[in-house]
């Protein structure tokens, strides 16, 4: 600290300069403002280089993929509930009604409140049946409502397939 700085007052005035510069340049969402008017402007709308959301690797709500015949792709191999560190995936396997696989999930439930969105299930899945989608604004009125069952997860697939192709 030099003698001039030890007086503090000039340095404090310099500090006011910095503060007020930011105040006036970002006033009313001006030049330096870094905020985004969220529900109207969303990160998905921005290009990735400008801080937009990268749909291909964003880890949001899960979906269960369908195969080309519209059936659930899952073969109920239990890899995802095994790897899941939050233990939020519950599968009840049953004998498959189709002849191209032995098992299929009769029940498939993910507790979205317990899930930590680590993406391990997606990594573990041998048939690419479970995937994380770029959907992040999911709400529910109760805890039970946030336990997504098979129909709901397949519905997530239907609404996100355009934004994130398989």
């Amino acid at each position: 600290m030099t003698r001039a700085e030890a007086v503090y007052i000039p340095e404090i005035i310099k500090g006011f300069g910095t503060t007020l510069r930011h105040f006036f340049t970002s006033f009313g969402q001006g030049r330096t403002s870094r905020a985004m008017q969220y529900p109207e402007v969303r990160r998905e709308d921005l290009p990735v280089v400008d801080g937009g959301l990268n749909a291909s690797n964003f880890r949001g709500v899960h979906r269960l993929n369908r195969d080309e015949r519209g059936r659930v792709k899952c073969v109920a191999c239990m890899m995802c509930p095994t790897i899941c560190p939050a233990r939020c995936i519950h599968i009840e396997a049953a004998e498959s009604p189709w002849d191209d696989r032995e098992k299929y999930p009769a029940k498939f439930e993910i507790d979205e409140l317990r899930c930590i969105y680590c993406g391990m299930c997606e990594e573990a899945c041998p048939v690419d049946a479970i995937e994380l989608t770029p959907v992040y604004d999911v709400v529910g009125g109760s805890r039970q409502e946030m336990v997504f069952d098979k129909e709901k997860l397949l519905h997530v697939y239907d609404v996100t397939i355009n934004r994130k192709p398989m």
Binding site: R3, A6, V7, I12, G15, F16, T18, T19, L20, H22, F23, S26, F27, Q29, T32, S33, R34, A35, Q37
Partner: protein
């Protein structure tokens, strides 16, 4: 019916108006602080809440500027659970917010918002029977002394709140607050004394008249104004002096255990205190309701103009100055980091108090010698500032509260000091397993 004079009725009306004006101002200052801090940090701040309450019929009141935010905050405070923790001192716990807010709100009565009014309304004509009345809650001769006395009472509520909460953090916050307020009361009083010695009066309206005639107090005594400003920020527990509620150290400080409206009272009191002190500062150093240089405003805001319009303009000018002062305090808050508590105390006792003592002695001598014109006082203030800057290296530095080097820390070493990176204590050097465990073979 002797007591029912025009002045009495005016005072009652002014008090009724001012309580509401001040409370609304305080509510919107909270929002202004959020907005200002947001813009300083390149954010936007509250901008959603309007007055539509979610009703489609009131859609036209939906606000893009967030002006409904204070109302929403107030409603939230009112309907939240008012929780009293177990084993608190119930009586004091409830009393503390009241003791805090009362002095903050009664200080306003002596502020001369609009000077003197000749009693003539625009359409109704003369309503006071030709008597000129003071537009102030109470035009008392001890004005400034009263304000000083009342403003200091707030510390009791804060200390009691900290004590009654039965919480270590609250207690520490209360203790810090009382120590800080008592320390900064001294420079506050001394700077005030320097100003009052030069004015030669303690009547608020006369002080403004003197400033109109001889130039604002800040021109005559910039150092006294600076010390006064520092002291009111410390008194009001404003950053950079908000050690009493330092989040990083004390959770929430003295109001850690408070919730709902009782917390809101502390919050409101803090802002009301700031508004009172700012009005005080404007009264003493920034010419009250007076505006210089602009010809039309200059005549309208001079104490000799007493029409109803002039009173309104004076009131708005005064309030504008107060709001500007508070906004400046907010900029200070977001510019200067919080001082450590021992630095706050050191600053009061080793810097601000000695300087203000020298200032008071200087002003006293000048007033005694009859040499107290504006420019001579200004020269004396500048001389004291230069003296402070020149003398500060000659004063021996205190060695207490210096940083101590830690074992193994390369960050807290003093400059030029050899750093011991390893402990030489035998216990720390000895490599032995924790008692009751067996060492694992590697």
């Amino acid at each position: 019916m002797d007591w029912l004079t025009p002045q009495f009725i005016t005072s009652v009306v002014i008090i009724l108006i001012m309580v509401h004006v001040v409370l609304v101002t305080v509510a919107y200052l909270v929002m202004a602080e959020r907005k200002i801090s947001a813009y300083i940090q390149d954010r936007i701040g509250p901008n959603r809440v309007g007055f539509d309450f979610g009703l489609p019929a009131l859609k036209f009141l939906r606000g893009a500027l967030g002006f409904g935010q204070p109302l929403a905050d107030g409603i939230k405070f009112l309907i939240k659970e008012d929780f009293t923790p177990s084993r608190v001192d119930k009586a004091l716990f409830s009393l503390a917010p009241i003791i805090v807010i009362a002095p903050a709100l009664v200080g306003f009565v002596i502020i001369p918002w609009g000077g003197i009014w000749n009693g003539v309304l625009p359409i109704l004509g003369d309503v006071t029977g030709g008597v000129a009345v003071h537009i102030a809650g109470a035009n008392v001769n001890i004005g400034i002394v009263y304000l000083l006395a009342v403003a200091s009472l707030g510390v009791y509520g804060v200390t009691l709140g900290g004590w009654a909460s039965n919480n270590k953090y609250s207690f520490l916050g209360g203790l810090r607050c009382s120590a800080q307020m008592i320390s900064y009361e001294i420079p506050l009083g001394l700077a005030l004394l320097a100003a009052l010695l030069a004015f030669g009066t303690v009547v608020p309206d006369s002080i403004i008249r003197l400033q109109v005639a001889e130039g604002w107090g800040v021109v005559a005594q910039p150092l006294a104004a600076l010390i006064f400003f520092i002291a009111i920020m410390a008194e009001g527990n404003r950053a950079p002096f908000d050690n009493a509620e330092a989040e990083q150290e004390l959770v929430g400080g003295y109001h850690t255990e408070y919730s709902s409206m009782r917390f809101a009272l502390f919050f409101l009191a803090e802002y009301a205190h700031i508004v009172t002190s700012s009005a005080f500062l404007v009264l003493l150093f920034f010419g009250g309701y007076h505006v210089p240089f602009i010809p039309w405003l200059k005549t309208m805001t001079s104490p000799e103009t007493m029409t109803f319009g002039a009173v309104l303009i004076k009131f708005l000018v005064y309030l504008g100055k107060v709001v500007l002062t508070v906004c400046f305090m907010m900029v200070v808050r977001w510019t200067i980091p919080r001082l450590r508590f021992d630095q706050v105390m050191m600053m009061a006792w080793q810097f601000v108090i000695p300087v203000s003592l020298v200032l008071v002695v200087g002003v006293s001598v000048m007033v005694y010698a009859g040499e107290a014109s504006t420019y001579k006082l200004l020269a004396m203030n500048v001389a004291v500032i230069l003296l402070t800057v020149m003398a500060s290296p000659l004063i021996p530095k205190s060695t207490s509260n210096r940083r101590l080097p830690l074992y193994g820390s390369r960050f807290s070493a003093m400059p030029g000091e050899a750093v011991r990176t390893q402990s030489d204590e035998p216990v720390a050097l000895e490599d032995r397993p924790v008692e009751g465990t067996t060492p694992v073979a590697r």
